[in-house]
Symmetry: C2
Subunit: 472 residues, 2 copies
Amino acid sequence: MSSAFDYLDKNRERHLAELKELLAIPSVSTDSSRAKDVKRAADWVSKRLKKVGCKKVKVVPTERHPIVYGEWLGAPGKPTILVYGHYDVQPADPLELWDTPPFEPTLRDDRIYARGASDDKGQVITHVNALEAHLQNGGCPINVKFLIEGEEEIGSPNLESFIRENKSALACDGVVVSDTAMFSKDLPSICYGLRGLAYLEVHVKGTDRDLHSGSFGGAVVNPANALVQMLSALKDARGRISVPGFYDNVKRLTVSERRAFAALPHSDRKFRRAIGAPELDGESSYSTLERIWARPSLDINGIWGGFTGEGAKTVIPAEASAKISMRLVPHQTPNEIAKKVAGYLKKIAPKSVKLTVRNLHGGETWLTPTDHPTLLAASTAMKRAFGKTPVFVREGGSIPVVATFEKLLRVPTVLMGFGLNDDNLHAPNEKMELSNFYRGMQASAYLMEELGKADDGATQVGQRVRGKRARS
Amino acid sequence: MSSAFDYLDKNRERHLAELKELLAIPSVSTDSSRAKDVKRAADWVSKRLKKVGCKKVKVVPTERHPIVYGEWLGAPGKPTILVYGHYDVQPADPLELWDTPPFEPTLRDDRIYARGASDDKGQVITHVNALEAHLQNGGCPINVKFLIEGEEEIGSPNLESFIRENKSALACDGVVVSDTAMFSKDLPSICYGLRGLAYLEVHVKGTDRDLHSGSFGGAVVNPANALVQMLSALKDARGRISVPGFYDNVKRLTVSERRAFAALPHSDRKFRRAIGAPELDGESSYSTLERIWARPSLDINGIWGGFTGEGAKTVIPAEASAKISMRLVPHQTPNEIAKKVAGYLKKIAPKSVKLTVRNLHGGETWLTPTDHPTLLAASTAMKRAFGKTPVFVREGGSIPVVATFEKLLRVPTVLMGFGLNDDNLHAPNEKMELSNFYRGMQASAYLMEELGKADDGATQVGQRVRGKRARS
């Protein structure tokens, strides 16, 4: 099998040149004037899948940007993985903060700088190249399907329906996603848990119109004052969320999880400095990693009302609003939490205001067992590629598609990211480490090898993969 | 003396036609493209003062819009009043909500509709016409000075220095201002108290940049959450302001004041309906009029931070801000209160944020004794003009120039307003009741007569006016 890995080493320059081609396409999904570029990127991916040897390659139109699908099913009886990723990118502004133009991929200090380098073009393409390496060297030990969308950066509005309508075509034993970061540059990691999300917009209306604060101040409710009272009542002084029943379904951290988190090389001081925070803050009795990975949170994402210009305007605003969101942990659900928070806000709202709460958005939590054979195979593959046993970590954010895969395809997902936390995702000077690009291809090739290993083992892994469902 | 009043009756049409001329000039002080119109209005007022018989009439340039001054000092030994008013107006937008164009004065239902009709052109001009009536009929019983500025709607930035530099020229026994509303259409009133103002801008900074609420939520301070916690701590559940020492210098309402307020024909139901409030709200144990006129208040005038666009953005904002202001009552002072509130905010701010509090603006409280001879003369004059004894009221708002007059000229101010609460000041379809315009002229002429009455009395009033200083 080693020839596949030799192949990857020998073809580094070409693979990098190809990545540059893809990165040069400004496939900004949110910018409708870039729709043709997005389509161009989809076509590039589709052409590349065909060239690698995929069959049934298609560019499936959606209401906005197409989904690229391709498959190689030349290993009957062996497990099948579905590689999910995205070829669309975030906008590049503010352009003036880029050291080199975002869509002119540039090599510097063993990194490739371009919008999409790490998120997600550079990561998703590693799996395509890994499949190529196997196919050029005797065939791939497992079956591989690719689902590469062009709407991830706008919330994947057409992905779930596509998966739902193509369940049998997408059937597999596990989903592999490389769209996250490693724990640190020297420490590969596999993510086994994601927080969910409940996102509300709160609107408080007082009087019919803005009032003069002199003529009315003290005798009428001020909806901005009412809003801050209500929002401040959502949390207590110890950082706990005060909404009744909020923690009812929270899965408690086990002793071994807390121990595992504590063993990770995390430094609060470095973490704090990296974001320029005067001090860290959060729910008492929990460490930073526990707070981010395994405890729910509540944040005001936006707040507005009244006069916000220069100077002093003495107005009592007629209304005030806020966007608030809760990060959820298993086994909380977005609907349950949205309902509880909205209900509590209604309960504590003064009678003198009209309250409206809109449920804007939700995302399920996700947690998969770390002893699942697919995760163990991924762990071995990462160790072989990076020379170090990966740590199992969680993410504080949400990747809604992971829960969707689990719900619709009933298979586990492996989040094996080749990015780094300082890759500047969604920011100027996005980059990917070239070493991670190369090692990522190797890790993917090793994963295919691990999952396809020895007849008995392979079947066993395949069956176990098929038979066992991740719990969330 | 009755001929002066006959004169006013006979000249109604001409006085109205002249008012229309002034109202047709769009002297919007805040709009720099209207600077020439503002100057035109100043020239119109100056010409009118000259025509009436004033001497030393001048249009005094300031850094922005000129001040018009004029005087008639033909009653030596008699008291002198200084009439203060303004010839500038608020902007007229939104234009589409006006039934007739704001600068084409229109008569309808015994009202004159135009921007500035009530605020303040229609009101200030009554005193000019009253002086004319006396001068055309044997002379004015007192001396009259006019100070009519063009920057009231932009906060009178150049007025205080003008008064300070012209203290001796402006020396007088009392200031008369008609720039407020009567208690109701059928009930003339004289205002004897104004609230003061302390206005702060609060800025809370958390981290160096916006953070992803998934990757960081729960482990770092959210400055928007910190801000709402801090702002909500400023008031308790009973509507009282919780800042330590806030009420230390509050002059308590006397029993007779509470009785007088309670006797006024005020209806909470009508008040509530007029502003479209679901319920009234405020400090417990106080009536609406007490809350507005004689109790301090605290309002959020504006609040902003984070994502305020359409949809859901999962951001922890790096900063959040608010504008808050306190209405003050005697003997609170703006500096004292600004210091106490800022100090309390600093005390309760979490260590994990950087707090900045800026003192944007302040205004002194004002309260004058209702038994002051100048106020009593004004009361008699209003009674003679409106056929009803006026009630003594307070205002919840601030008119900083009143405190300035008191501070620099050391004389009382009479706030005798001829406006109504439904005059649509600062709003579309501003109007003035014609009956109030005519009665206002009479009231002003009566006031001159009252203050100048019978040698002994006049001197006595003059001396008492001069000798007694209003207490605040």
